[in-house]
């Protein structure tokens, strides 16, 4: 290696140490996460405003196509959830990035699809979509540092053990081992984590197993402490609700197009026009 001579004034400036790269290039950076947030909330808002104009009325072909695009984007997250749990995701982190970007993109797409419509239930669905997207971005931004701070946060765990708790946990482990003999013969309780195939094959036993695992999880936590990943559970729950809402919306506009169109004509492809004139507790569609 050749060093620059230090016997005369330097002619040119060399750069000091380079900045750091902590992640893979395709992974969402903090800036990308913020961009997602902007896309979901800001983009959604702009899209709503744009869609309120005369060029994007509900039911037109363009808004219909945007609806399908939004729906497809909204299906990526559940696909991610299934892929990573079923063992079909070769690159789970790439799937994660895809679900995040798709979730964020779905908001403006869905807002444009709304086309300035004022129907309460679809708007509620749109709001839920925005909430889930924003929640996901916020989780990623906030939860990371919070999870990092948990390292070394449980000094009391190294204190002399509580014999009752240890016995209870050992009992739970024994019960789980007994159940495992049926659920997955040969599986080792210490490393067993349920997969969809276990649920398909032994739904009842798996319910019991899950109950035991939850009891164990509760006993492993600091007494009285909430589950650290509760916000993530909420995110999943709201996303599941959103998925249900999406399914209901698709069914409604496909089969109950008459109800969805209200007093107007049905201008989008559909299967049936049932429900014209219906109201739900006095609410128009």
């Amino acid at each position: 290696m050749r060093l620059k001579p230090l016997t005369s004034p330097p002619a040119a400036t060399s750069k000091p140490g380079s900045a750091v790269r902590f992640r893979e290039p395709w992974e969402p950076s903090v800036a990308a996460l913020r961009a997602m947030g902007l896309l979901a909330i800001g983009g959604g808002g702009v899209a709503l405003a744009v869609a309120a104009g005369p060029w994007l009325a509900p039911g037109r072909p363009l808004t219909y196509a945007l609806g399908w695009a939004a729906a497809l984007a909204m299906l990526v997250p559940p696909a991610f959830a299934l892929a990573k749990r079923s063992g079909r995701a070769r690159r789970p982190r790439a799937w994660f990035a895809l679900h995040a970007w798709a979730g964020a993109l779905a908001v403006p797409l869905a807002a444009l699809h709304a086309g300035g419509g004022t129907a309460l239930l679809p708007l509620a669905l749109l709001a839920l979509l925005g909430l889930v997207s924003a929640q996901g971005v916020a989780l990623r931004l906030v939860a990371g540092p919070a999870l990092a701070r948990r390292m070394g946060s449980r000094a009391e765990a190294f204190s002399p053990p509580d014999p009752a708790r240890r016995a209870a946990l050992a009992g739970l482990a024994a019960d789980k081992r007994a159940l495992l003999a049926r659920i997955g013969p040969g599986a080792e309780e210490a490393q067993f984590a349920p997969a969809p195939r276990h649920w398909r094959a032994h739904p009842v036993a798996m319910l019991r197993y899950r109950r035991l695992a939850r009891l164990e999880s509760r006993l492993l936590r600091r007494p009285g402490a909430p589950l650290a990943t509760r916000p993530r559970r909420w995110h999943i729950a709201l996303a599941t609700l959103l998925l249900g809402g999406l399914a209901a919306h698709v069914v409604t506009v496909s089969l109950f197009a008459g109800y969805a169109a209200g007093d107007g004509p049905v201008t989008w492809p559909h299967l049936a026009e049932w429900g014209r004139g219906w109201t739900w507790w006095g609410l128009a569609p």
Binding site: M1, L3, K4, L6, T7, P9, P10, T13, S14, K15, P16, G17, S18, A19, V20, F22, R23, E27, V30, K84, R85, G87, P92, R93, F96, R140, G144, P145, L147, A148, R149, R150, M151, G152, R154, A155, E156, A157, F158, S159, P160, P161, D162, R166, L169, A173, A190, Q191, F192, A193, A195, A213, E216, S217, L219, L220, R221, A228, T229, R232
Partner: protein, 989 residues
């Protein structure tokens, strides 16, 4: 590149692997954390391990009142350290919690090692939440789980974990779990049961004697303010392949005076790792976190890299880039103008030890001698000139006889440590010493106002009142001499004036009953300690800044030296007085024809004494300052210092980082350091010297100190005094050694040729007995250790003291004197010169007075608490480490350690802001409420500066710069009266 691990064979691979952590040995230095991040390229917030500081909640009161102090053996609350990393459970809860299939976490069926596949981890955090030990890490930037895998890549190469390799305390071992457990039990050690969750963790923790604490101080946890993910310097976060070195070079860590032997690992001309040198006979590959932070420093984009010139008003902080040529030309022109107007003495030069011995004892001295100014000094008067002076008075030299060897200091049966927190200030050396001590079964007693980490590892802690170590020494000598427990043969043969000392001390009545109320220790404890020292077969008395940074420091150190000597513990294996560091005679001189003798003496040895000359021109004006380091963070008397700097015509600041001093500079110049410039950085604790080659380029246009001085010298007509050839550090060192009898034979070639790149001086004499000449004579006029001679009496009398040390305390002491009264303000004003300095230096006269009116006045004003300042925790060394992100991450906040009683009195909670105020100024810090400190005392670490760590004010704002030792001009940093209140304030004095 690391110790071998016999685990690659088939039989060994079948063993369940584990770390075994000896909690009795762990000193909480967090070197294992640094090693882990360095090994695995982890960034801020990202951890595979973490060391918790744990204190006991309840225990006996310490110190005042009962006066017993409370050692660990007496039921004091424990201060212990708990390294937390993955426990590699047989039933890993993390693994079961992972929702990814196949799971991103797996467990090796043979070794039991649990690993996470970060390529599969989606960052959901379920595993982190599931681990009941809080032992899973998380990368907050890359957003995935991280965890200890017992350094899988290193094990594949047959090496042990990075944490085990560096651990200064020798507390961590890796091996087959059953083997480790069997060995621990065979050694009579108890393995802690921490399997409270039926998970069967693999990690073995060996119980500490005092039990494990339960309460983690808020200040030892991460602060929300730290961990800016974007400021970490490479090679952190880079793939392992990008960090694999292409060359390795032996050298020494330049940060502190422990000078640990290290290997510098380079890739493509950049530093990618620093590891301990395993074949070094002393350190054996152990290093503290600071050495590892060198990687951050040498790659830090925040380093100064371009010369800058002030463009706004001084203090406004506005600078513009300037070329080196132009900056040097302008500085030279200004200097010549100042010399013409005010004389050459108007230039002051101050460079800290960070800049290296070639600078502070070489380039600056030669420049000053050629220029004609006596006002050149380093940090020594702030650090330890008192001990240097004391050594010279007693044994004629500051070459500490003892060295760190098992057959030397390691052979002691008793270690008495007074005012030396060695475990944090020199963790590697303490770990080495503690290992010898534990294996030998030697006792360790620590005398310190607070339960330092060193005290936490000792057999006994005596919580002495700050500034009263002299009283303790006097009383111990009284007990020994009064009962004929001294080593009569040694006294007769090797000590001059010991009888006079004995008669004096007995006549004065400096016994344990007298010392008890002064020191706050129980008289019986003092007597017992004295007898233990007298009876020990080899007692090492260790001391450091705790006794040295006082206005009574020279006499205190002399008394403690007397204590060692009368018990025969001087220059013998396992016996001696060790107050680091050894200081060789090293004053290179110019030929007479190149030397310009100053017409006026040095204003004060301590640079804080220059303030009046800068601001008011008394006793004569100082108009220009060239400085390195950060005096406007570190000097006591910050208000005076800032006013003084603002009044100067020229301030040149030459440093690594822009800091508080930079803000008042006219020129801000980027400095190279360590392996960017090469050379000899430090004189180590025990007469070791070592050499660093220049290995890497400095950032940008940063230049070596030597280059700067020689370029400047050329422009002011001193080219012959500082020729171009001396830009080569080897040439400079050889030039310096040629003038030093202590360093004969230790030129650069000799240092480079040494296997581990260090040698001891005097060359060829390593053992303690080797320092005396063949006739056993010490280099004093009498050839003996000198307690009392007429010449000594005359010299010490010139500053109001006597050869037979008479007790006096600090102004901060309770009660009414005696104290030292300075007869001048910041520096000498008359014609009288110090009898203790070879260089003409104004004497700052003083006298002892029996009462303490200043102390009374301050106490009446509510300043009723004793403030001790000192080095921060092991990851920090003064101000510059605060620029390293991981050091900030480990200890982010300026804190004030205070006793629960004091906290209750002022109503402050642990971790909450508390304001400390002295007659000099005030600041706000975070409260660390701890039983490990006297109830009447608080501790504030030094080094936090406003620019590096967000502390608007530093410890220097609180300290009176006038309280200095009359012999050595040593500043009192350890005993200041203060008052406290909960909450923040405006930080105005």
């Amino acid at each position: 590149m690391g110790p071998g691990l016999d685990l690659v064979g088939a039989s060994a691979m079948s063993a369940r692997l584990a770390l075994m952590i000896d909690l009795e040995r762990c000193i909480g230095c967090r070197s294992c954390e640094a090693a882990c991040k360095l090994e695995h390229g982890l960034g801020p917030g990202e951890r595979r391990n973490k060391v918790l500081w744990l204190e006991g909640e309840t225990a006996a009161e310490v110190g005042a009142g009962a006066g017993t102090g409370a050692g660990t053996e007496q039921g004091a609350p424990p201060l212990t350290f708990l390294p937390v990393m993955c426990q590699h459970c047989a039933r890993p809860a993390c693994l079961r919690a992972c929702p990814v299939r196949p799971a991103a976490i797996s467990k090796d069926s043979e070794t039991g090692v649990v690993t996470v596949d970060t390529d599969r981890c989606t960052g959901c955090g379920e595993c982190v939440a599931a681990c009941p030990y809080g032992a899973m890490g998380f990368d907050p930037v890359g957003r995935h789980a991280v965890k200890c895998d017992l350094c899988a890549e290193r094990r594949a190469e047959g090496r042990i974990t990075a944490c085990a390799e560096v651990c200064p305390g020798r507390a961590i071992e890796l091996g087959p779990r059953d083997d480790l457990a069997a060995r621990a039990r065979a050694g009579g050690r108890e393995i802690r049961d921490h399997d409270g969750f039926a998970l069967d963790p693999a990690t073995l923790y060996l119980e500490p004697r005092a039990g494990l604490g339960t309460h983690e101080p808020a200040v030892s946890r991460e602060s929300p303010a730290t961990g800016d993910m974007r400021t970490a310097a490479s090679p952190y976060g880079q793939p392992r392949a990008a960090r694999r070195p292409d060359s390795t070079h032996r050298g020494l860590c330049p940060i502190c005076f422990a000078s640990c032997a290290v290997d510098y690992h380079l890739k493509d001309g950049r530093l990618v790792a620093v590891t301990g040198a395993r074949d070094d006979p002393l350190t054996e590959g152990r290093i503290c976190p600071k050495s590892q932070f060198l990687v951050q420093m040498h790659n830090d984009p925040g380093r100064l890299s371009t010369p800058m010139k002030r463009i706004g008003a001084r203090g406004e902080g506005r600078f513009a880039p300037i070329s080196w040529e132009r900056a040097l030309d302008e500085i030279a022109a200004k200097l010549l103008e100042i010399r013409d107007r005010h004389g050459p003495e108007a230039l002051a030069i101050y460079f800290g030890t960070r800049t290296g011995i070639l600078t502070i004892r070489g380039y600056t001295l030669l420049f000053a001698e050629g220029w004609g100014t006596p006002n050149v000094e380093g940090t020594e008067p702030l650090c330890a000139t008192a001990k240097t002076a004391a050594y010279k008075l007693v044994q004629g030299s500051c070459l500490i006889p003892n060295t760190y060897r098992e057959d030397d200091v390691g052979a002691a049966s008793l270690h008495l440590i007074i005012g030396d927190n060695m475990a944090e200030t020199r963790p590697v050396l303490f770990g080495r010493l503690n290992d010898w001590r534990l294996r030998r079964g030697a006792r360790m007693v620590v005398v310190d106002p607070r339960r330092s980490v060193t005290a936490a590892r000792a057999d006994q802690w005596l919580a002495i009142r700050p500034g009263t170590d002299m009283a303790l020494g006097l009383a111990m000598c009284h007990e020994i001499l009064g009962h004929d427990l001294h080593d009569a043969a040694f006294c007769a043969a090797r000590i001059e004036g010991w009888e006079a000392w004995r008669d004096f001390i007995l006549a004065r009545g400096y016994d344990a009953d007298w010392a008890g109320p002064v020191t706050g220790l129980a008289p019986d404890a003092i007597r017992a300690l004295a007898r233990e020292v007298a009876a020990a077969d080899g007692c090492m008395i260790w001391s450091m800044r705790g006794t040295t940074q006082h206005s009574n420091a020279v006499q205190t150190n002399r008394v403690l030296m007397f204590l060692a000597a009368i018990t025969g513990n001087w220059a013998r294996p396992g016996g001696g007085y060790f107050n680091a560091t050894a200081v060789p005679e090293l004053t290179p001189r110019l030929p007479d024809r190149l030397r310009r003798a100053p017409a006026r003496p040095m204003i004060a040895q301590n640079p804080v004494g220059w303030s009046a000359a800068m601001e008011k021109g008394t006793p004569y004006p100082l108009r220009a300052l060239i400085c390195g380091s950060d005096p406007l963070t570190m000097w006591p008397g910050q208000e005076e210092a800032r006013r003084a700097f603002e009044a100067l015509d020229l301030v040149v600041h030459f440093d690594l980082y822009r800091n508080a001093t930079s803000e008042l500079a006219d020129y801000l110049l980027p400095a190279a350091t360590g392996i960017e410039k090469g050379g000899l950085n430090r004189v180590a604790d025990d007469r070791r010297l070592g050499w660093n080659d220049r290995l890497i380029d400095p950032p940008g246009e940063a230049r070596a100190d030597g280059w700067f001085w020689i370029e400047l010298a050329r422009r002011v007509g001193l080219a012959e005094a500082l020729p171009e050839s001396l830009k080569d550090p080897a040439a400079m060192w050889d030039r310096m050694v040629a003038d030093s009898p202590d360093l004969a034979g230790l030129d650069s070639a000799a240092l480079r040729a040494a296997p581990t790149r260090w040698k001891r001086f005097p060359e060829g004499r390593a053992g303690p007995e080797g320092l005396a000449d063949p006739g056993g004579r010490f280099p004093t006029p009498s050839g003996k250790l000198e307690f009392y001679t007429e010449a000594l009496e005359k010299r010490l009398g010139a500053v109001g003291l006597s050869a037979l040390p008479e007790y006096y305390g600090e102004i901060a002491q309770p009660g009414d004197g005696p104290v030292l009264e300075r007869l001048t303000d910041m520096a000498g004003t008359g014609e009288e010169l110090s009898p203790f300095r070879a260089k003409p230096t104004l004497l700052s006269p003083a006298r002892l007075r029996p009462d303490n009116p200043e102390g009374r006045r301050l106490r009446a004003a509510g300043f009723d608490t004793l403030l001790v300042t000192g080095r921060a925790n092991a990851p920090h060394f003064h101000s510059w480490t605060h620029h390293f992100w991981q050091a900030r991450e480990m200890w982010p906040d300026l804190y004030l350690q205070l006793h629960p009683d004091m906290a209750a009195r002022i109503g402050v909670e642990d971790g909450a802001p508390v304001t400390v105020e002295t007659a000099s100024g005030s600041l706000t810090a975070r409260a660390w409420i701890s039983r490990g400190i006297r109830p009447d005392t608080v501790f504030l670490p030094i080094g936090w500066s406003h620019d590096a760590a967000g502390a608007p004010r530093t410890a220097g704002h609180l300290i009176d710069p006038r309280q200095r030792d009359p012999v050595a001009d040593q500043a009192n940093l350890k005993s200041t009266l203060c008052r406290l209140r909960a909450g923040r304030q405006g930080n105005t004095p």
